[in-house]
Subunit: 259 residues, 2 copies
């Protein structure tokens, strides 16, 4: 771990805390929003809540790990014996990225056997992407990082391809209002998922190790906020509109079983 300036240490510290607050708030919101969509979309909100719940846990752990990994020694933050545990992110992604994909498929009008096939392929690709990325993340060797990063990119591209193709097919079937939201969802997916490889590759850019560490942590945090709570809000908007279109908004306390 490199030595950090006060500003560098604080930036990550506050970014992690901000993310805890955002994930926690989203957890409460998605739980409460469940009863405002039709019965068939309620599981989508449950998945959204569980994703940000898992992220809240991991950000609390990362916050503690970050605080313990550095000590203020008169003007700079020097590393302690406790090493900042980057693995929390990978444990988080291992659980949440497959769930994000399940959430997406669940809100789309993909039915029956087709849906099961898509989910299995996406989940396997997501797990591969994360597991292959990890060895590169924890190494200090540039070549090793590049190798695993490249391997991890293959399932990443496959996921983007499947989503693009299947979102395209589904979009054609939806109302104009839902279509706009699905287009935004595509852009949001690309914008947020695109940040991860950039943050991942920061240590390769021959910049100051402290800057690379700080940039990576802040980058991952911003990407997580976009990819989980903001993404969940868009999914919620889609579920709301589709509930209205299908005239099946569930009055609280009298849910209609339409699934």
């Amino acid at each position: 771990m490199p030595t950090l300036t006060l500003g560098q240490y604080d930036l990550v510290y506050n970014a992690l805390s901000f993310t805890i607050a955002t994930m926690g708030a989203a957890f409460v919101f998605f739980l409460l929003a469940r009863n405002t969509v039709a019965y068939k979309y309620q599981r989508v909100m449950v998945i959204a809540a569980i994703i940000v719940g898992i992220a809240t846990y991991h950000y609390v752990r990362m916050f503690s790990s970050w605080s313990a990994a550095f000590v203020n020694s008169g003007g700079t933050y020097t590393p302690t014996n406790e090493i900042f545990n980057e693995a929390y992110r990978y444990a988080d992604w291992l659980l949440t990225v497959p769930l994000l994909l399940v959430e997406l498929v669940a809100v789309l009008s993909i039915t029956g056997e087709r849906r099961k096939g898509v989910i299995i392929r996406l989940v396997v690709a997501a797990v591969l992407m994360i597991v292959l990325g990890y060895p590169g993340e924890v190494t200090l060797d540039v070549g090793t990082r590049l190798l695993w990063g490249t391997l991890s990119t293959i399932p990443f591209i496959y996921i983007v391809y499947v989503l693009w193709r299947d979102l395209g097919v589904v979009m054609a079937r939806e109302s104009p209002e839902v279509r706009v939201l699905l287009r935004n969802l595509r852009l949001l997916l690309l914008a947020s998922w695109g940040v991860y490889p950039i943050a991942y590759l920061l240590p390769l850019l021959n910049i100051d190790p402290a800057m690379a560490l700080v940039g990576r942590q802040v980058g991952y945090s911003i990407a997580d906020v976009v990819a989980k709570p903001a993404y969940g809000l868009l999914i919620y908007a889609i579920a709301r509109i589709k509930s209205e279109e299908e005239q099946a908004i569930a009055p609280v306390g009298a849910l209609v079983a339409t699934d």
Copy 2:
């Protein structure tokens, strides 16, 4: 406690944290899933939630115990005065294993007196299995470990036998869809419960004590994730299908008593 490398210490540390997140997420999910199954299967989801809730608590404790049991002394983790408390696992199993068996019997269509008899026999066998295993777990003597391990295996085999026999009888009565899930449940039970004796016997294999400790903790954690949340998801799938088959999905706020 043996001295560990950074990688060995981290592996257990992250496996324990990952399990906390998984158990906690499953707790939220099973609680929320309760209202999506028929009234007669809702208690199954309550039991599933309680099991992973108990496990979440014990894994939080184990995580703290593990962190306190070792200190980073420049490149290796050496044992502190605090001994890692293996008893948390046995306390957890003493509570959760009987509940796992009750959960299984509750989702099967075993009725009346027959059900009560099966539950009592399974619970007694489960308690015996865990209580007899513990003295062997905490000893350093190979012979003692083997003796108690063998004694503990007798009720274990009895449980597997009863489950196989009764699952077979019940499977013949169910729809093809449920039958496939019950077959998967059998395989999952065998795969997850089979890991425990292997992890238990690791210290007997004359391998490096650090490797044996790490292998045992990671093995137990994986087995717990399969035996509790993954098992609960399969049970939930069975409850969902049976609810639909019996056309008795309970609308929230107007629960239908069908039991």
